[in-house]
Amino acid sequence: MGARLPAWGVAVAAVVAVPAGDTAVAQDARPRIVVDVSLKKEVVVRDPQGREHVTLEEVTSSGPGDTLVYRIHYVNRGEAPAVNPRVVDPVPPGTELVPGSWDTEGADFSVSVDGGRTFHPYPVRRTVTQPDGASSIQEVALSSYTHVRWTCREPLAPGDARSAVFKVKVR
């Protein structure tokens, strides 16, 4: 990884080099995040009283209108804090984001409408110009969202784990 740094970065690191003992620790103790995604499907079941309940079931297949639940579980298996973790997950083609379906605990949630190049708070709005020249601001269609992202507010300490959840609906 160090070899990919620009030359000026290496130079700066050399200038601010800390005492020999600490340097050895910094090189060996690295963060190492392991991430796993699981997929389940929401299934509506009726109890004997006729009330509907939503349960999560393993996905064998899915059809238009189904709600898929993605859970991203990530853990720092390294020996140093992982700084500024950002979890990015695409909204799969053929699905659209379910509004409000994400959790935001300990992280700032944002969305992309341009294939992950830029991220913005949800919802993204756009200015629509009417034929008469007047303009109004409208939220973009749900199908516009291409990616979701969580930016953790705190570093992920060694051994710590977090998860992020969001839902999509199959179009």
Binding site: A26, V37, G63, A80, P85, D89, G94, V124, R125, S144
Partner: protein, 299 residues
């Protein structure tokens, strides 16, 4: 301050890209067999700011086939007995994969129906329209293979039997049923209201009551079409009563005298039917009446 400026600019970018980001709208939904896959990425740095990245496993699910069939619209028409009426419908595969839609047409009165492919998509029955075939051999005629979102235009015919009373209503239920494992179906209703002639005959005699022999009786017969369509070929036959004798030359139709002889005019006596007055009235429009009179002498 610099960060804020950059973020401010970034928040404007969606305004420029949005029209590009909107994908095609799939009315039928995501096509069956589409693999929906997902893989998460985590970017982070070590304490020295060196960028690190890790990617997750890939989870996938395959989109199964969902069948949606629509048959539209409901239609209505009037008809007269003996008519064959045609109704055009659109059969749409609203599902997310190929489907073959079985079709049936059932008349509430058990009248004969038939299903045709509207080959020229004219919405009316034309000579090129061919009967629907059973393309998948399941015993029911069908649209043939329809791709997702495809529409089959069909014509339903129903034949009204000859002797059907005025005001009779028939409904043909046209049902389209998917051939998929979880079948979807839809129906359209074709309502046919029958306009038929409805004849009434009212006969009166003057003078009324007991009469001595040699009295001349005048019979008046009023024929009315109370129905909703023309009555054609109306013929009134009235036998001269026993113990009376027809008064020669006494018959009239709507106040005009008619001869007793054969085909010279509408009326005859004892020619078409023995010892009876026969009046060929012809066509009576809805609401029209014909009045026939003749006289007899009591023997």
């Amino acid at each position: 301050m610099k960060r804020c400026l950059i973020r401010g600019i970034a928040s404007l970018l969606p305004l420029l890209f949005l029209t590009l980001a909107a994908g095609p709208v799939l009315a039928a939904g995501t096509p069956a067999g589409t693999v929906i896959s997902n893989q998460a990425t985590v970017d982070y740095t070590d304490v020295n700011g060196n960028p690190l990245q890790t990617v997750s496993n890939i989870v996938t699910t395959v989109v199964s086939q969902v069948s949606i069939v629509t048959v539209d619209p409901d239609r209505a028409s009037s008809a007269t007995p003996g008519d064959t009426v045609h109704y055009a419908h659109d059969v749409t595969n609203g599902g997310n994969g190929d489907d073959t839609v079985d079709l049936t047409a059932v008349s509430s009165n058990g009248w004969a129906t038939a299903l045709f492919l509207d080959a020229d998509a004219s919405g009316t029955f034309t000579p090129g329209d061919t009967p629907l075939a059973d393309s998948d051999g399941d015993g029911t005629v069908d649209t043939g293979l329809l791709a997702a979102d495809a529409v089959a235009r069909i014509i339903v015919s129903v034949t009204v039997p000859a002797a059907i009373a005025n005001g009779t209503v028939d409904t043909v239920t046209v049902t389209g049923t998917s051939s998929q494992p979880l079948p979807a179906s839809d129906t359209a209703i074709d309502t046919t209201t029958i306009n038929a002639p409805d004849m009434s005959v009212v006969k009166s005699v003057a003078p009324a009551g007991p009469q001595p022999p040699a009295t001349v009786l005048t019979y008046t017969v009023v024929v009315t079409n109370n129905g909703a369509s023309d009555a054609a070929g109306v013929v009134l036959t009235d036998a001269v009563p026993a113990n009376t004798t027809y008064v020669p030359g006494s018959m009239t139709l709507d106040g005009v005298g008619k001869t007793d002889g054969g085909p010279d005019d509408e009326g005859d006596f004892n020619v078409t039917a023995p010892n009876a007055v026969t009046m060929t009235i012809g066509t009576l429009a809805p609401g029209a009446t014909a009045t026939v009179t003749f006289q007899v002498t009591i023997d």
